[in-house]
C-alpha cells in the first residue's frame, strides 16, 4: 500500500526531519518528496510513501503523525494514494 503524507502550515525549520523520523521509526519507505512555499509563508509538503514493510498499523502511524502535527502546529494528513489518483486520473 502506498500513501501520501501532506504537511500544511506556516513554514518553520525541522518539518521534514520530524516527519521523516516518524516514518523511519515505523519502517516506512519514502519514495518521493515535493515541497512548495505558497504565498511566501504557507509551507506545503507532500511525500509519497511505501507502507508495505511498515512495522505498525495504518491507524497507529496516523496517531504518531497526529502527535507531530500537534507538536509543530501544522496540519499533517496520511491518506492512501488512490484517493488522489482516482480523482485526477481516468
Amino acid at each position: 500500500m502506498r500513501a501520501v503524507i501532506s504537511v500544511l502550515g506556516m513554514d518553520r525549520p525541522g518539518i521534514i526531519a520530524k516527519v521523516s523520523a516518524v516514518l523511519y521509526e515505523c519502517n516506512v519507505n519514502i519514495l518521493d518528496i515535493d515541497q512548495t512555499v505558497l504565498r511566501d509563508e504557507l509551507f506545503a509538503m507532500t511525500m509519497l510513501a511505501d507502507l508495505r514493510e511498515m512495522n505498525t498499523s495504518f491507524e497507529a502511524l496516523k496517531q504518531k503523525l497526529d502527535t507531530v502535527s500537534t507538536r509543530i502546529g501544522m496540519q499533517i494528513k496520511l491518506q492512501r494514494e488512490e484517493i488522489f489518483k482516482s480523482m485526477h486520473n481516468v
Partner: protein, 450 residues
C-alpha cells in the same frame, strides 16, 4: 509521483469545501424472510439485516480513515416492507424490527417501510399505508416511502388523498417534536430502486440479495469552482461544473469499489447528487446565486438549476461505471443554509420551488408548512408534484411537514442534518372537491412508447 497541485486540490476540497461521501447504503433483499407468521418473518428479517450489515459501520470508518474522506452516513435499505408483510399483517412489528436491527448494527437510518400503489392499493397495502404514522412515531430511524404515481400508470389519486391524511396523522403523533415523523416520509412518483439517500431509500424488487450503493455530495466544491469563472459565459459555467462533478464522482466510485471489496458485497451504483447540509459552504442555493442571482428564488433560478442538474450528470457519468439513484441536485429547504435564507427574506416561495422541481433531481423536500394546513391541500401539493414527475418521466417526491402549532413566520428546528425550516405559506384556496374525486389520473400519451 502524483502532481502536488492535484494533491493539494483534493485536500482543499475535503478540508474547506466540505467534499464528503454522503452515504454508504447497503441494500438488503428481504424476500427470503417471508412467512405467514409475523413473528417468524420479523425474526428472519432481524437476523438477515444484522448478519449482512454487521460490518458496514466499521468498514465505513476504516475507509474514512485510510482515504481521509469523511463518510457522513452509513445506512441500510430493504425490500419494501409492504411486499414482505402482507401475508401476516402486524405492520408496526415490522417497523420496530427494522429499528431494532438498524440500531444493533449502528447505522444512521434504515429505509424501506415502503409501498407501491401507483395504480391501486391492495387491501393489505391500504392497511399498510394506514400504519405509517404509528410506525414512524414509534421508531427512531425507520424511513418510509410510498410510490403513488408512475409515467406508465398515471397518478393514483385515491392514494394521493390518503397520503394527505397519513402525513397529518404522522405529525400529530409526534407533535411534541415538531411533527418529526413526517421528516421520515416521502411520497414518490417514479421512485427509483437503487436510491441510497434517505428518507426515500428502499431495495428494489429488481435488485439482488445485497448491494452497496454510494451517494456523493459536494455543493461547496462546485460553488468554489464557479467562483473562478465569475462573469464568464454559461458555456464556461457548464464546463466547470462538469469537470468538478467528475472529480467528486471519481471519489464516490473509489469508495464504492473499496466498500464492495471489503464487505464482499456487489457494487451497485454511485448516486452523484449534490446534497446540501445546513453547514455554511454546503449549499445548492449558493451555487445558483454564484451564477449571478441576487437570491435563490429570483427569476432565473429555474434555468440556473436546470444547467446545474444537467452538468452534474454529464460530468459524473464518465466518472463511474454505474450511475444511478436520484443523481442531480437536491433542493431540500431546511437542509440548505441558502434556501433557508431565501425563504426567510421572501425570495423563495412554494410555487417557485415547485417550478424548480421540474428540473432538479427530485422534488419538494423538507418543506415545513402551517400545522393547520388541511389534508386536502397536502394531497393537492402531492398531486401537483406527481403530475410533474409523471409528465416529465422523472422522479419527483414530496416530503412536507405540517408542523403542529406553527404558523407562517415561525421557524422550526428539526435538529442535525435535517436543519431548520421557516414555515412556508400554502395557497389557501381549497382543492377539497378536486381531491375528493378519487380514481386515477391517466398515464400521459407519451407513456405509450412500445
Amino acid at each position: 509521483m502524483l502532481d502536488q497541485k492535484d494533491i493539494l486540490t483534493t485536500i482543499k476540497m475535503i478540508e474547506t469545501q466540505k467534499l464528503d461521501i454522503r452515504t454508504i447504503t447497503t441494500g438488503i433483499s428481504l424476500f427470503d424472510c417471508v412467512s405467514d407468521d409475523y413473528k417468524r418473518c420479523t425474526q428472519n428479517i432481524y437476523d438477515k439485516i444484522t448478519r449482512l450489515a454487521d460490518r458496514l459501520v466499521q468498514t465505513g470508518a476504516e475507509i474514512e480513515s485510510e482515504f481521509g474522506i469523511p463518510i457522513v452516513n452509513k445506512r441500510i435499505s430493504v425490500t419494501p416492507i409492504s411486499l414482505v408483510s402482507q401475508s401476516c399483517g402486524h405492520y408496526i412489528e415490522f417497523a420496530k424490527t427494522l429499528d431494532k436491527a438498524a440500531k444493533a448494527v449502528g447505522v444512521d437510518f434504515i429505509g424501506g417501510y415502503s409501498a407501491f400503489c401507483q395504480k391501486a392499493a391492495t387491501t393489505g397495502e391500504q392497511a399498510f399505508l394506514e400504519s405509517i404514522p404509528e410506525a414512524l412515531a414509534t421508531t427512531d430511524i425507520v424511513c418510509a416511502s410510498v410510490n403513488v404515481a408512475t409515467t406508465r400508470a398515471g397518478i393514483n389519486m385515491d392514494a394521493v388523498r390518503m397520503m394527505g391524511g397519513v402525513i397529518k396523522r404522522a405529525t400529530a403523533l409526534t407533535a411534541d417534536h415538531n411533527g418529526y415523523a413526517a421528516t421520515k416520509l416521502v411520497v414518490f412518483a417514479n421512485a427509483v430502486e437503487d436510491n441510497p439517500f434517505m428518507a426515500g431509500a428502499f431495495h428494489g424488487t429488481g435488485e439482488g440479495d445485497c448491494v452497496i450503493n454510494v451517494g456523493v455530495s459536494g455543493p461547496g466544491v462546485v460553488k468554489a469552482a464557479l467562483e473562478e469563472v465569475r462573469g464568464q459565459s454559461f458555456d464556461d459555467v457548464a464546463h466547470t461544473i462538469k469537470r468538478t462533478a467528475f472529480h467528486i464522482t471519481r471519489t464516490g466510485q473509489l469508495v464504492a469499489r473499496e466498500a464492495s471489496k471489503r464487505l464482499g458485497v456487489p457494487f451497485g451504483i454511485v448516486d452523484l447528487s449534490l446534497a446540501p447540509t445546513p453547514r455554511i459552504g454546503d449549499s445548492v442555493a449558493h451555487i445558483l446565486e454564484e451564477m449571478g442571482l441576487e437570491s435563490c428564488g429570483a427569476h432565473g433560478t429555474t434555468a440556473a438549476l436546470a444547467l446545474l442538474n444537467d452538468a452534474v450528470k454529464k460530468g459524473g457519468i464518465m466518472a463511474s461505471s454505474h450511475v444511478g439513484g436520484l443523481s442531480g441536485a437536491f433542493i431540500p429547504v431546511s437542509e440548505d443554509a441558502g434556501m433557508i435564507d431565501a425563504v426567510k427574506k421572501g425570495a423563495l416561495s412554494l410555487e417557485k420551488l415547485e417550478a424548480m422541481t421540474c428540473v432538479c433531481s427530485v422534488g419538494l423536500d423538507m418543506i415545513a408548512v402551517p400545522g393547520d394546513t388541511p389534508e386536502s391541500i397536502l394531497s393537492a401539493i402531492i398531486a401537483d408534484e406527481m403530475a410533474i414527475g409523471v409528465v416529465n418521466t422523472k422522479t419527483t417526491a414530496v416530503r412536507i411537514i405540517p408542523v403542529p402549532g406553527k404558523q407562517v413566520g415561525d421557524t422550526v428546528d428539526f435538529g442535525g442534518l435535517l436543519g431548520t425550516a421557516p414555515i412556508m405559506a400554502c395557497n389557501g384556496y381549497s382543492p377539497e372537491a378536486f381531491i375528493a374525486r378519487g380514481g386515477r389520473i391517466p398515464a400521459p400519451v407519451h407513456a405509450q412508447r412500445n
